[in-house]
Each structure stands twice: as C-alpha cells, then as structure tokens.
C-alpha cells in the first residue's frame, strides 16, 4: 500500500474542528463559572451542611417542689441510642448488626427510619430510649464500624411511685405530630419532651429547659474528625407548688383503695394543698416510651385513671348544694323565718318528692335543715326562690363555670337556669324541675374543685378566690401564664346568715348531724355531706334514676369554723352516703391540724428588724434545705415523709444553727 500520494485533508475542515473544540471548551468553562462563581455560596453552604453534624445536648426539666421546697419530681440520667441518617446509602447494611446490639428488631428500625424519612437528614433519630449499660458499651465499642450510632444523655423524669399525686403533676412525653403543627409549638422539634398533662403541661414553658448542641466535623462515613462548638444546655427552672406534701400524703392514704377525688385548699388564698384522684396511674411509665398495651389499658379502664376527677368529673353535688341554697334563701330573706314540717316527703306540682329520712324530720328550720339535711325543707325553699334566684347565687359562687385553676382541661359543669334550658334544649323551664335542683339533683353538675370553691367562698363570708397549684407570685418574671385568672367578684352574705349557716354546718359532725361518725375530738369542722346519683352529664338522660348505679358520696368541710384555713372536698364514687366521704375528709383535715399544732407559732419578734425568738415546735422553718427531716427527697418514688420530727436526743442537745444552746435545751423535752 502506498501512502502520501493522495490529497491532504483540507485546512478549512481542520479549522472547523478547532472552532468546534473551542466552543465545547467554552461550554465547559461556562459550566465551571456557573458552579464556582454564580452559585458558589449555595454550594459552600451545602458543603458545610455535609460535614457538620449537630448532636443536641438535652436540657433537664426543672424540678417540681412542694410548698416547703421538698422535691416531688426529680430527674435521673439515662442514655438513649441515636441513629444518624446523613449517609443513608451506608446504613442499610448495618441495620441487622445495630438491631442485634441494641436488642430490637431490624424491622422496628426500618419502620422508624421510614417514619422520619421526611425530616431533614441531619436530625438524628432516637432508636432506643433508656438503653442498658451493655448497650452503651456496644455503641462505644463499635464507634469506628458503625459511626452512625451515638449515645445521648437524657434527663428522664423521676416521679413518685404508684401514682402519687399523678394527676396534679401530670406526665411528659414526646411532642405529638399534631401538636407540632400548632402555632404555639413552632419552636419545638420532633422528639422533644413536653408536658402532656397536669402541672407538667400547664407550666411546661417554665419547666422545659433550652437544649444545647455539640457541633462537630465529620467525614462522609460519619466519623468525627474535629470539634466545632459546644453550646451547653440551659436547665429548666424549678417550680414550687402550693401543695403541701404532708397534706397530700394524708389525702393519698385517705382515698387509698377507693374511687373518687380529694382536694384540700386554703380558702383564704386559693392555694391547693392537696389534690388526689383515684384510680391513678404511674407517670414513670410515660417517662420512657409507654407501651401500646399499657396505654390502651389506661384509656379503656372504666375507672378512667387518666382523668383528674378533682377538676374533670362533673357530677350532681347532691345535698352539699343545700349550703348554696341556704345562702340564696338567707340573702333573699326567705330562709330566716322558714319552718317546714317534714313527714318524709312533700308534693309539688302534682308529684311527690321524698325526703331521705322516710319517717320525716318533723318541724325543721334552716339550722336543722342543714345538719339533718332535710330534703323537704330545701324543696320548699327551692319552690319559693324559683330557679332564677337559685341560679343567680349558684353562679355568683362559681357553679357551672370553670374556676380557672391552673391545670389543663378543667370541666365546666352545669348550673341550670331558664335561659340555659332554652339554649340547650329549646324548651321552657318547668317549675317542677326547680324542686330537685333544690337538693343538688336534676340538671346540676359540678366538679369537685368548683363545689369546693363555692363552699370556700361561703366559709370566707363571700370572698371568692381562684384555686391554684402554683402561687402566681412565685412565677418567674416575664412568664406569661397559659390562662388568665378570671376576675373575681365577692358574694354578699349577711354576717348573721354566715354565722348561722356555718354554725349549722359544724353540727353535721356532731351526734345530731348526718356524719357523726366522722367527728374528731378537738377539731371543729364545719361541713356538709351529700350523696348523688352516679350519672355523668352525658348519660343523665338515658339512665335517669337507674338504681343500678351506686350513689356518690360527697363531703365539703373546712376548719376552723370562723377563720377557715383549710377546706377539703371529697368525692367518694359509689360511696353511697356522705358520711363515708366525711370520714375521708376528716383524715385530711386532721393531718393539717396536727401539723399546725406541731409547728405552732415559730417566731415572735418584738419589733420588725429586731432579734426574733423562736418559741416552740419545729425549729427550722419549713422549706429550709438544711432540715433533713422536712426536706426528705422523694428519690425512687418514696413518699413516706415523716410527719413527726425525730425526738431530739437530750444528751447531745439539738443542733440548731442560730439558737443559743441553753434556749434549745430548754424546749427540748
């Protein structure tokens, strides 16, 4: 073959090729320009995000204390296993190993990952909360092989055991996806722990801390190659309740084994001293993930353990309502001179209404009507007053309205009136309905807290308070409460009427009263028993007068009679008669009185600013952290705080910080 004889390739074609190459190279240069000059900022951010890993440092929630500073709710450290999902392509193969090491199923991990698939990649997933030391060791040992696994220290809630004060305190849990969509949760992230009920929910903003974070540099395998920054977590603030642990313990024990609710309150201030609802639940089970079975059991339990009956049960107040009737009757100047002959029943509007004492009470005036709880007297009074005047006083005392207590989901209750009937049933009020309202039946439904507040106002001669579990003065500055306390308007009660009614109430626990068995010598309790049908508002229509429902027992009582310091309401579900509720209530009152007597007056100062002398009782002031007896920590859920201080040992003397030894010895016996 001969080469070189043929014509050459035309130069024009080679030139064309050169221009074509130039064009292609300019295109590539433009590609570089676009990425490196025009959009460089964007890609530099992406490169940063690629290699910076953020691990949150979780803030512990604030402790919850009782009114004397004793710890009710604490935290304990626990480790959670975190899975980082930044390199999903490498993760799949490691899932079986992770599942094995953490003792969970591989499917569980995959389901979890799918659930978080729509969340940003840099957000880690908690794949197992509360892991064991073995599992922590597994993660640490496999750091280089499975860099996607991290541990995180979590401060878990430690609640008192066995549901002590569970409804008051509430519980915490992961913020739900529904909540995250609400505006007030815009600052929260998936997986954040928030209060779900009770004080935990109401004061979540105070208790919740601010999470910190640790930012570190990682390579594409998620291996940490350097630290960037460390922002420490800000712990939540502690919250002091008005609850008194000693009273709470007495209330818990008094209601143990029964169903119902107890509230103790200082009627002067509205401080809730104790709040119990039974049956109860153990909030510790919510502190880690609660199992579906356990949750279902709680939700379907006919006793409604998750319901805080103290503020959520809406029931007929029964005869306790007669105190409100008495006030209405007195203020309307009907009850003063009223005298009724009770022969076991009376007929109104063509229907016979029976008295609970079948044989009748004979001649009854207001005082006797109260301590004997005569139905006929109050039927008659109700007929004379009419529903509008009854409703006026009952509403003035707060019935049929939320009390505004600082706890979530308080129920409203019902105080019927003509207007209420028309609005809800499109029907006129029948005069006959007024008669049963007179003894706290019919359409009347109150929550325990509502009823207690009404009686508290009467005990205080008309002074209305808003019950609260946290003293508003104790709240941190700048904190905006979840709910505004409603405006209060005192109720006028003539002193003479007040005296008569409260005197009559103090005879309820005397031999002539309805609950003599609840009497405790030396304590002057003014109260009122009640019993009412167990029919909630919803089922009222269907089950009216169904004997299959045991009656609820009620008792509301306070002490001392003229200068009340504590008022206790007891709802004893299925308790049949108020005297059983009264016995429960008096145990709580006794705990309070005993404590007051032990403490006595602690200091007596001659002049303000001058030296004060401590006189008797407990030497250290309540809430003083140095006092080992009164600041018993509730670690591990124990709540057997000693009610009586240790008897001081005479030989050693008592160690009192700033009191001369001679004076201390003088009172030690």
């Amino acid at each position: 073959m001969q080469f070189g004889k043929e014509e050459k390739v035309p130069t024009s074609k080679l030139l064309a090729v050169q221009y074509a190459i130039l064009a292609l190279f300019l295109l590539l240069a433009f590609g570089l320009w676009r990425l490196q000059v025009m959009k460089s900022d964007q890609y530099q951010l992406a490169a940063q995000a690629n290699r910076i890993r953020t691990i949150p440092i979780l803030a512990p929630r604030g402790k919850i204390l009782d009114r004397e500073g004793r710890i009710i709710v604490d935290n304990y450290p626990s480790f959670s296993a975190l899975l980082l999902r930044e390199q999903p392509q490498e993760l799949d193969a490691k899932i079986p190993k992770i599942a094995n090491g953490l003792h969970i199923s591989a499917d569980e991990i995959r389901v979890l990952l799918r659930r978080y698939a729509s969340r940003p990649k840099y957000e880690p997933v908690v794949i197992k909360p509360d892991i064991t030391p073995d599992e922590v060791a597994f993660i640490e040992a496999n750091k280089s092989e499975i860099p996607e696994l991290e541990t995180i220290m979590v401060h878990r809630r430690l609640y008192p055991k066995d549901g002590f004060a569970a409804h008051l305190i509430g519980y915490v849990g992961e913020v739900s996806e529904d909540d995250l969509n609400r505006p007030q949760f815009e600052l929260y992230n998936q997986g954040d722990i928030v209060g779900k009920s009770g004080v935990e929910q109401e004061y979540n903003d105070i208790l919740i801390g601010k999470n910190g974070e640790r930012r570190s540099l990682v390579d594409s395998h998620g291996k940490e190659v350097g630290r960037l920054s460390h922002t420490p977590a800000v712990p939540g603030e502690q919250l002091k309740l008005t609850m008194d642990l000693d009273i709470q313990i007495a209330a818990e024990e008094a209601l143990d084994g029964y169903k119902g609710a107890i509230i103790a309150m200082d009627p002067r201030t509205g401080d809730i001293l104790a709040m119990v609802s039974r049956p109860t639940f153990d909030p510790n089970h919510f502190a880690v993930r609660i199992s579906r079975d356990e949750w279902n059991a709680l939700v379907t339990d006919p006793g409604h353990p998750l319901l805080n009956k103290a503020i959520q049960a809406q029931l007929a107040p029964g005869s306790t309502f007669k105190i409100i009737m008495s006030v209405a009757g007195w203020q309307e100047k009907i009850a003063q001179t009223m005298n009724v002959h009770c022969n076991g029943g009376a007929t109104f509007y063509g229907r016979r209404f029976g008295c609970w004492v079948k044989g009748g009470h004979g001649s009854v005036d207001l005082t006797k009507a109260i301590y004997q709880s005569c139905d006929v007297f109050f039927y008659t009074l109700a007929e004379k007053l009419g529903i509008e005047r009854i409703a006026h006083y009952a509403q003035a005392l707060g019935l049929g309205q939320k009390t505004g207590i600082d706890l979530p989901q308080e129920a409203t209750g019902v105080m019927p009136s003509e207007e209420w009937k028309i609005r809800n049933f499109k029907q006129k009020w029948f005069a006959g309905e007024t008669i049963s309202v007179g003894i706290g039946q019919g359409a009347v439904a109150t929550t325990p807290v509502q009823l207690m507040r009404a009686i508290a106002a009467i005990s205080m001669d008309g002074k209305m308070v808003t019950p609260h579990v946290v003293d508003p003065i104790e709240l941190p500055k700048g904190y905006v409460p979840v709910r505004q306390a409603p405006e209060l308007k005192n109720v006028d009660i003539e002193p003479e009427g007040w005296n008569l009614i409260t005197d009559a109430m103090s005879r309820v626990l005397l031999p002539e009263g309805t609950a003599p068995s609840a009497h405790i010598p030396g304590i002057d309790i003014a109260g009122k028993t009640g019993s009412a049908q167990v029919v909630s508002l919803d089922t009222r229509a269907k089950h009216s007068n169904n004997a299959a429902f045991a009656q609820n027992g009620w008792f509301v009582g306070f002490t001392p009679r003229r200068t009340p310091e504590i008022i206790v309401v007891v709802l004893f579900e299925g308790g049949e008669h108020g005297k059983l509720a009264a016995r429960i209530a008096t145990q709580v009152v006794k705990a309070y009185v005993d404590k007051q007597r032990r403490q006595g007056i602690k200091t007596a100062g001659l002049e303000p600013g001058k030296k004060q002398f401590e006189m008797a009782g407990l030497w250290t002031a309540p809430g003083d952290a140095k006092d080992a007896d009164s600041t018993e920590r509730l670690q591990g859920g124990r709540f057997d705080v000693k009610l009586s201080p240790k008897p001081p040992k005479a030989a050693k003397g008592v160690q009192f910080a700033h009191v001369p030894a001679a004076l201390a010895a003088g009172v030690a016996h």
């Binding site: 090729v17 570089l32 000059v37 690629n50």
Partner: protein, 366 residues
Amino acid sequence: MAKQGSFRDFDWVLLGFVMAISALGVLQIYSATISTKFAEGNIYVKQIEWLIAGMVLMFAISRIDYHIFLEYIHWVYLASIGSLLAVAVIGVRLLGAKRWIRVPGLGLFQPSEWVKIVLIIALARYIASLNQRDVTWPDIFKAGLIAGVPFLLVVKQPDLGTSLTYLPALILGLFLGGINYKQVGVIVLCIALVLPVAWKFGMKQYQKDRLTNFLHPENDPKGTGYQIQQSLIAVGNGGIFGKGVAGGTQTQGMFLPVTHTDFIFAAFAEEHGFVGATAVLLLYFIVLMRLIQNAQTAPDRAGTLIIMGVVAVLVFHIMVNIGMVVGMMPVTGIPLPLMSYGGSSVLFMFLALGIVMNIRMRRFVN
C-alpha cells in the same frame, strides 16, 4: 533524509504541556488520597511509575514508522475483535460486567481500552484509502462496520461508556473524509429514528437512570444522583480561588466519590477553584490545538486522520468527564485523560502520543 526522523523533530512543546497536565494529575491524586485508604498504597507514586512507563512506550513507538502500523492494521484489528470475543466467552465478570480477560502472570487485561487506538488507525487507513473522492453510502457503511463491530461487542459487556469512545473517531473521520451534508442529514435522521427504539428495548433500567439522573440528581440521592450532587457541591465549594491543596472538604471528607479517578477534576476544582480549573482547561485546549497543528503538517492523509482520531477521542473524554463533573453530562465512568489515576488510561494516552510524535517526526519525509 533518514526515514527514521530525529528527536530534533520531536514535539517537545506538546510533550511539555502533556507533562504539565500529568504533573497536576499526580499532585491531585496525592492530595485526594492523602486522607483515604489509598494513602498507604501511595498510588500517586504508582501513577508516576505509569507515566514513566508511558514515556518509554511513547519514545519506543515514535521510533517505529507509523506506516508499518497502517500496513498491518487489518491483522491487528482482527486480533482486537478476537480479544473482544474472547472476553465475551472466557472473560472475567467483575461488578456485573464482563470486561476483562485473565492473562496468566500479568493479571487482568481489558481489551476494550486498546481497541480504541487500533480503531483509530484502522479507520484512518480506510478513510485515507478513499483518496478524497466523494464518500459513497457503501463507504460510510464499511467505515460504520469497522467501528460498529467492536462498538456492539463492548456495549454487550456491558460498558456503554467505553463503547461510546469509539464513535468520535468514526464521526470525525467521516467528516474529514468528505461526507456531504445530505448524507449527514440521512444519518442523523436514521439515528433519530433508531435511538428511541434502542432506548426502549436495548437498555437496562440502571443504564437509563444513569443517563438521566444528571438532570435531576436529587431523584436518586443514594446512587449516581448522590455522586453528581456531591460533585457539584465539591466544584461549587471551590469558588473562585479554591480551598487549597488538601483543603477541599468534599474531597478530604470523602463525600466525593472516586476522587482520584473519575471525579479527579471535581477534586481539583474544589481545591484550586475556578482559576485553577479553567487553567487546566486551557492546558488541554493548547494540547488539542498543538495536536491539530501536527495533523495539519502530517506527511500524508492517513497521518492527519490518525492524529485527528486521537483528537476526537481526547475531546470526547474531556467533554464527557468534565461535563459529568459540572453536571452537564451523565455519569459514565469515563476517566479524564492524563489526570485520572489508572495504568490503562495513561498507557493509551502515551501510546497515542507516540504515534502522533511518530507522524510529526516524518513530516518532511516527502
């Protein structure tokens, strides 16, 4: 005049620019692997060894008159087809593709790399033999057959990326050989008709995905989409002046895939920025222009066509590789000549350069 030609006529300028690019490649391989598992293997040293071997090969090839290659190319061509068939029959399957033959004592050998240079010479010989008369349809068909047989054999391996590198030499050869616009029009029309069918029936889903993912890398964040995404981030992260040698977080953090081979330009662009990347483009452009100049001064038509075949393959590699790195082309696994790590790639380049030098040294023969 001696038929040998002398080293005085050797294109030292071209070699200088080629070595400059190779040196940048070595530097980048060093920087890219400094913090990876390859660091211990010192693969940049291996690359230098390959380059030295390539230079030796280049000088050796330049001593042999390229007309001898042209003379016997049909036998070599047949041998190449034979080797590709051997791959199909007794080839070694790795990573799902049958591309290699095990040569006892030497290890794995990938014939499709060498077919490239054989094909360039074979096509040059055939097109030169047409002697500048108008290219007829049978001519086009025969040229198409010369490239088409190895093309299909390699497609079957499957190795779409390498097989595509066979086509630019054919296209450029036909263009320089004197194909007219009418024929171009008919061919383009035929391809336009065949392509959708081939797309539908001839290609596997993963191949289609690879070819389309570059348009929407976010659709496939785990596979090739992830690679493109990381590559774009690396290039963009470089900015105008780059992050400095061994300073690219995408490269050093191993977010960028295969930083020392297919994505070496992304690593370079991250560490040296727009300024460095365009400088490399300029170096390549100079090399290509110098090659075309050599093609122009070649003693005969076949020499011109050989050099232009090399230019075509080179341009194709650069376009596809850098195009992939900047997100304008799909991920095909085609290395960047002279920069990417790899013996086959280096040896091919220097073999081709040896033939180019060879042709240049004989420019005054007649």
